[in-house]
Amino acid sequence: MRTFGNLLAFSPELWLVAGAALVFALARFTSGATTTAAALITIILAFLALATQFKQTLTILDGAFLLDGFAIVVDVIILGCAALVLLAGAADILPGETPSPALPGFLLLATLGAMLAASAAEMIALFLALELLAINLYVMAGLARRGPAASIAGFGYLTVGAASSGLLLYGLALLFGLTGQTRLAAAGQALNAVAPNQAAVMLTLSLLLGGFALRMGLLPARWWTRGFEVGVPIRVVMLIESVGVVAAFAVFGRLAATTFSSSRIAYPAVIAGVAAVAMTAGNLLALTQTSVRRLLAYSTISQAGFALAALTNPKGTGISALLIFLVALTLTSLGAFAAVIAYARSIHSDAISDLAGMSRWSPGLAIALAVALLSLAGLPPLAGFFGKLLVLQAAVNGGYAWLAVVGVVNMLFAGLGAVRIIRTMFVDPPVFEVTPARLDRGIRASVGLAAAGIVFMGLLLGPLYAAATYGRNALLH
């Protein structure tokens, strides 16, 4: 009985399971609007269930899952992202496309996987949770019903994802082999006590980093950089870029803070090197793009580099900086993607040059996209700036001042890149006549919410930072 006594602590996750089951049942005889609404209500119920667990620390299933402050903070971010994706994603429909009404169910299951991964404290549970997330993403990518190109893109994602799962599994197996422990905290203590071969520990870390690279958004994944009307739908990309990235960084943050921080390898140096390369390369790639979608795709590499930079200092303020940065990043990228979905309804094109004169045919959308792009670049006083500022502060405190200089230079160039697009939207005359399409309430709400969040996050930074510090303290005891 003791084993399952705490199962009620899973109540947010159980709501998601029940909601997904309901959505799959409803999907047989209702439309996408109904299932989307059901999924949204489920997310709200899951959030309320989570709210009853605030400020607690619960060990579930003999320590396989640890619902601590860190997991709760991450869960809140994940649920918020899922709700925004759901709101905006319903509008990502191409002319003639009828998306499966079961899609919100897979979204709920992916969210479930991400939440489980955030609280997983043991390797097997961790891997299973990540796979639950990944498999649902593969399904959503494959369910595009947009012709063969979309299926190929979905299959490409499956292949890269499987390879990265393999690397992750090798890394976890090696960690188990070195320490004889499957629990992350115990493995960390064993790494310190047993002091195994340092090269092997470094290899473990590299394998894990490699396994997480795709999920964190560190890889220039080719599968979504094809043309606009082909490839993975944005509603899936949004989910990968928000829920998936948050889960990956939460798990890697937990690994860095509880397992590797007590080892003797110079792992922050490795992370700093990867971070510097990623933020610079991602930026250079993004600056040369001619489509907003690709620009966003490549800029995620740079953002992942910034998020990694926070982990150079996991014992100090790195974890709280990471959490704040993830809030800013998801708000920003979801806002940008939602704006892309919204304007794509009107112009059916992806080229930056076709955005010319957008401020005339859709001023509100132009402002929202401009705000999101500037925040993505890290220009103050928007959300992205505060996230990056805290990350750079953590890096400098951890002794990586050069990384902060790289970051500031990157912010400068990214700012110029963002202004280039904003010039097209606000200054250039329109290249063709555009009749703005009518947008439904969901996409309008998500664009507006994200833009308001980006602009006003600076004001709420005090309470946000308190929450992030609470999460960090829970992780580091």
């Binding site: 303020t317 709280s320 401020s359 005339r360 001023p363 509100g364 402002i367 500037l374 220009l379 103050p380 006083p381 700036f385 500022l389 805290l390 750079l392 502060q393 400098v396 405190n397 001042a401 902060a404 200089v405 500031v408 230079v409 912010m411 400068l412 700012g415 110029l416 202004v419 904003i422 010039r423 606000f426 200054v427 600076g458 930074l461 005090g462 930072y465 308190a466 510090t469």
Partner: protein, 506 residues
């Protein structure tokens, strides 16, 4: 040296006004900008309503500024209207606002100039909503820099100006606006990056983790580090000022920006550079500042002379004004570099005077360029015969710009020269030569524009309209007021400059 050195003693008890006035001066424009987003802009009536709303907003800010000034005159502490709220306690940044005798007059200048900028924005027919939203955000940025007593806040407001300024120039400017806007933005962002770098180095190297300007003043840093930070701050501010190698972005932007934006650019944006140098370099890093002052004086004098010579050779009227402002900002830099109370007083006063005269010059130049349909001075001539009022205002503005006694610029330039001469006996005469060259350029330009034969095609030129005339007269009255009665500002400026300089610090 005894001219203004005595600390004025105040007898009257200072009037107490709530500190929220200062916050209101900063945030009212931003709130109005957000409100403006929801205004319809389809018909002429709507557009007129938008204009009236924005005018009322800047008017409210001006009213707040005047009330603040009234309560400020008898200020006794270092900062007045000081407001501190917890904002980011975890990283040591707080919402800390406050003004002293250096920032308060400049804040008042900003409030005045934005009213004139809105009044002068009658030519914006297309998309006035977008234009005014950006203008109001710009006002929040400018006022915020003057009011901030926290480095992070200071940087946020500083950076807030870049994108609106870019869009205002690129969207509403002259024929070569895009190139000018890009150049301005690139130079400005590079300056901002240096500013951020300076602030971050200061933050991380100081023993207390805080962004608070007042707290950091009392922190002792190693001399070499302080010198490096001082250099970084100086370069970041000098880019805005602008000094010699960085001026082309400003000159191009000034030539291409729409007139009201040119007014803000020359009247306020460049003054922020001068303000930053006085507030941070002179006020906070005085010991380090004394070490780098040799180089700074050279830069200042070269800027004054180069700008004066460029003004003599300049044929484009708007660019000419840009060079004259640049030359004056070089003088401001010389005054700040000498760190003598008299000269720093002069620098603040010259910034105020130059803000007003530059605004007047830009507006008049835009009026003439619009009528003559050319910005080339050589192609103008004899306009005085057709534009009686315009010519009178133009002559007055030119006299104010060259520092004619009785007008505002004179006292500022005089104080800088008097204050800087004892410590810089070669540089100051060279700067005086620059003042003379600027005067020559200005008088020569007046002669070529206003007098001489009237070219055939200028036959149907109109005189200034009522609104243009009212703008001009308003600005000229302020210039005369400041020239005849500098004491209304001088006491407070002097009090704060002495406080600033006598606190020492490094």
């Amino acid at each position: 040296m005894t001219l203004l050195e005595a600390v004025p003693t105040t007898t009257a008890a200072p009037a107490q006004f709530p500190t929220v006035l200062l916050s209101a001066m900063v945030w009212v424009p931003a709130i109005a900008a957000i409100a403006l987003l929801f205004f319809p802009a389809r018909t002429d009536l709507h557009r007129g309503r938008i204009r009236s709303f924005v005018l009322a907003t800047t008017g409210v800010v001006l009213g707040l500024g005047v009330v603040m000034w009234y309560g400020f005159r008898d200020q006794t502490g270092t900062y007045a209207y000081e407001e501190t709220r917890g904002w980011l306690p975890s990283i040591g940044s707080s919402y800390h606002l406050g003004v002293d005798g250096v920032s308060m007059p400049l804040l008042l200048l900003s409030a005045f100039l934005f009213v004139f900028a809105v009044l002068a924005s009658t030519r914006v027919r297309e998309q006035p909503k977008e234009y005014f939203v950006l203008l109001l955000i710009l006002e929040t940025g400018v006022n915020g820099v003057f009011a901030s007593l926290d480095y992070l806040l200071f940087f946020l407001f500083w950076q807030l100006q870049a994108v609106p300024m870019f869009l205002l120039i690129a969207r509403f400017g002259g024929p070569r606006r895009l190139k000018a806007a890009w150049k301005f933005l690139a130079v400005d962002l590079a300056g901002s990056a240096l500013l951020l770098l300076a602030i971050l180095i200061l933050y991380f190297k100081a023993p207390v983790r805080t962004f608070d300007i007042v707290t950091l003043h009392d922190v002792a840093l190693p001399a070499a580090l302080a010198t490096m930070i001082c250099w970084l701050f100086f370069i970041a501010f000098a880019v805005r000022l602008p000094v010699l190698p960085f001026h082309t972005g400003f000159i191009d932007a000034q030539a291409q920006a729409p007139a009201p934006i040119g007014l803000v650019l020359t009247g306020l944006t460049v003054k922020l550079g001068g303000y930053g140098i006085i507030r941070v370099n002179v006020g906070e890093f005085q010991d380090a500042w004394h070490k780098i002052v040799g180089a700074v004086v050279v830069i200042a004098v070269v800027t004054v002379l180069w700008a004066a010579i460029a003004a003599l050779a300049q044929d484009d009227l708007r660019r000419l004004i840009g060079y004259i402002v640049m030359s004056h900002m070089g003088l401001v830099l010389l005054g700040a570099a000498s760190a003598a109370p008299v000269a720093v007083n002069g620098a603040v006063l010259l910034m105020l005077a130059d803000g007003l005269t530059a605004a007047l010059l830009v507006l008049l130049a835009a009026a003439i360029i619009e009528r003559a349909n050319t910005s080339s001075i050589a192609a103008m001539g004899g306009i005085a015969g057709r534009m009686g009022r315009g010519a009178a205002l133009w002559v007055l503005a030119a006299l104010a710009a060259i520092g004619f006694p009785g007008l505002a610029g004179f006292i500022g330039q005089l104080l800088i020269v008097l204050g800087a001469y004892p410590s810089h006996r070669i540089a100051t005469p060279l700067a005086v030569l620059g003042i003379l060259l600027v005067s020559g350029a200005m008088i020569w330009a007046v002669q070529r524009i206003l007098f001489g034969p009237l070219p055939e095609r200028h036959g149907r030129i109109r005189d200034l309209g009522t609104l243009e005339l009212a703008n001009g007269v308003g600005l000229i009255s302020l210039i005369v007021l400041l020239g005849v009665l500098p004491a209304i500002l001088m006491d407070s400026i002097n009090f704060s400059v002495i406080t600033l300089l006598s606190r020492g610090g490094g």
